[in-house]
Symmetry: C2
C-alpha cells in the first residue's frame, strides 16, 4: 500500500466545489472516477479541505492510498489524460502512510481578487469580483491589523456551520494594489471557518467604500455576531493558493 | 451625425475573431446587432484591425457613425446590457468625424503569454500557451534586437495574406519573465502582418529551446521565406493590449 500526495489546480467555475455531492459534479468526484479507471480500485481521496462552488485552487492538496504499480510521480500525467482541462494535477509523489491532507495541514494561504472599474472584466471574468466603485485600500489595509493573530472569528462564519471552535489564527493578511484597478487580498492562517474569508472580504469592501470605518472591524470581531459583518463576497474571486505541511 | 469611439475588451475564446463572417459568430457582429437594437439604425462598426479566432483584446478600438440621441459616454453601459459577458465596452466617447479606428491608428501593442511547466494550466487555460519545456529566455531576448526597427517581415507572414507591403516598424519587443513559469512577449509596432506576432513567437520559442540560435532570427528575417521561420504559435496566448492614435 502506498500513500500518494497530489498537488491540484482547478478552475472552480463549473464545479459544485471540492467535496463530493449526490447531485452535482465536484472536483473530488472527477478525480475519484479517474483513479478508479486507472487503478481498478475504489479510491476515496482526502482533500486538505472543502472549497465552495465557484472557488478556485492553484494549490489544493489531496492524498489517497493505493496498491497500484503506477510510479507515484506518473500519477499526475496519468490522471490528467482522463480529466477535463479545468482540473490539472501539477505534481504527484509518494509520502509516508501517516500523511493526511486534512489533518496534517498546518496552514493555508488564500487570495481574493477584486477588479474596481466602471465595467466588468471580459478577460478573467470568472476570477475577479467586479466592484464599480473606487475603494480606499489604505483604510482596508489599516483594518487588517484587527484580524491578524488569534481571535474568535464567530462573526465571520456563515450559519449552518458546525465548527466546534470558532477560534482561528491569522498569520498574515494584507491588501495589495495592482494599478490601475486590480486588488488582491492575501491571507494565511491555521484554518478558516465556513465562508470566513468571503465575509472578511465583504467587510473590508464596506470599509473601502467608507460605509464603516477601519476600527469597526475590531467591534464586529468582538461582537461575535454575523449580522454585524459585511455581506459574503462571491466565490469566484477566491483561490486556495497553498496548503502548508510540516516536512514529510 | 456623431462619430462614436469605443474601447473594447473581449475574451476571444468563443468567437471567430473580430471581423464579421458569414457562418461564425464574430465580435463585430455581436456589437453591430446590439447597436441596431439600441439605435434602430443599421450600423457598420470599424475596428482598428482584425484579430484571429481565439485571440483576445484588452484594448481593441472601434468607431461608428450614428444619429442616435444616446449620450456618447452612455453607449458603453447601454451596449453592455445587450451583449454576453465575454465582451465588454470599457469606454465610449464622441470623436471628430475624421477619426477612423483603422486608418487613424499609428501603432499597436500586443502581449503573448506563455506558461512553461510540466502540466497545462487549469486557471487561465484560455490565456496561456502551455509549453512543457524550460526556455532560455536570455537567448530569446537576445534575438529581439534583430526585429526591432524597420524591416521587411515577409518571412513572418502566413500564406494567403494580401498586404501590399511587408515592411513594418517594430518600436519595442521584449520577453519578460514572471517566476516561476510565466513568460510574456510584449511587442509594439506601427502594424503587423497576418499572423506575424504568432510566427515571431513560434520562432522565439525555437530559440528558447536551442533548436536554432538567436542570430538565426537575423537570417530568417533576411531570407524573407516563411519556411525558415518557426511554427505559428496558437492564438489563445495573444492579446491586443492597446491601439495608439494621435491626439483626437
Amino acid at each position: 500500500m502506498k500513500n500518494i500526495k497530489l498537488l491540484i489546480e482547478y478552475d472552480g467555475t463549473n464545479y459544485s466545489g471540492w467535496q463530493r455531492q449526490t447531485n452535482a459534479l465536484s472536483v473530488q468526484q472527477v478525480l475519484e472516477e479517474a483513479l478508479a479507471e486507472l487503478t481498478g480500485e475504489s479510491i476515496t481521496i482526502i482533500g486538505s479541505g472543502r472549497t465552495d462552488s465557484g472557488v478556485h485552487a492553484k494549490g489544493q492538496v489531496a492524498n489517497f492510498a493505493t496498491t497500484s504499480s503506477i510510479p507515484p510521480d506518473k500519477f499526475s500525467y496519468a490522471i490528467n489524460t482522463l480529466i477535463p482541462p479545468d482540473i490539472r494535477i501539477l505534481h504527484s509523489q509518494e509520502v509516508s502512510m501517516d500523511f493526511h491532507a486534512r489533518y496534517s495541514a498546518v496552514a493555508k494561504r488564500y487570495r481574493y481578487s477584486v477588479l474596481t472599474r466602471p465595467h466588468a472584466p471580459a478577460i478573467g471574468r470568472n476570477y475577479y469580483y467586479h466592484i464599480p466603485d473606487i475603494l480606499d485600500v489604505d483604510a482596508m489595509n489599516d483594518a487588517t491589523r484587527y484580524i491578524i493573530g488569534t481571535h474568535d472569528f464567530k462573526a465571520f462564519q456563515s450559519g449552518g456551520a458546525s465548527s466546534k471552535s470558532t477560534v482561528r489564527t491569522v498569520y498574515e493578511a494584507y491588501w495589495k494594489q495592482e494599478p490601475p484597478c486590480r486588488l488582491y487580498f492575501n491571507v494565511k492562517g491555521n484554518g478558516f471557518l465556513y465562508n470566513m474569508i468571503r465575509i472578511l472580504v465583504g467587510t473590508f469592501i464596506e470599509i473601502g467604500r467608507h460605509k464603516i470605518s477601519s476600527s469597526d472591524m475590531k467591534n464586529i470581531l468582538e461582537s461575535g455576531k454575523r449580522n454585524n459583518a459585511g455581506p459574503t463576497a462571491p466565490p469566484h474571486g477566491l483561490c486556495l493558493e497553498q496548503v502548508y505541511y510540516r516536512a514529510y
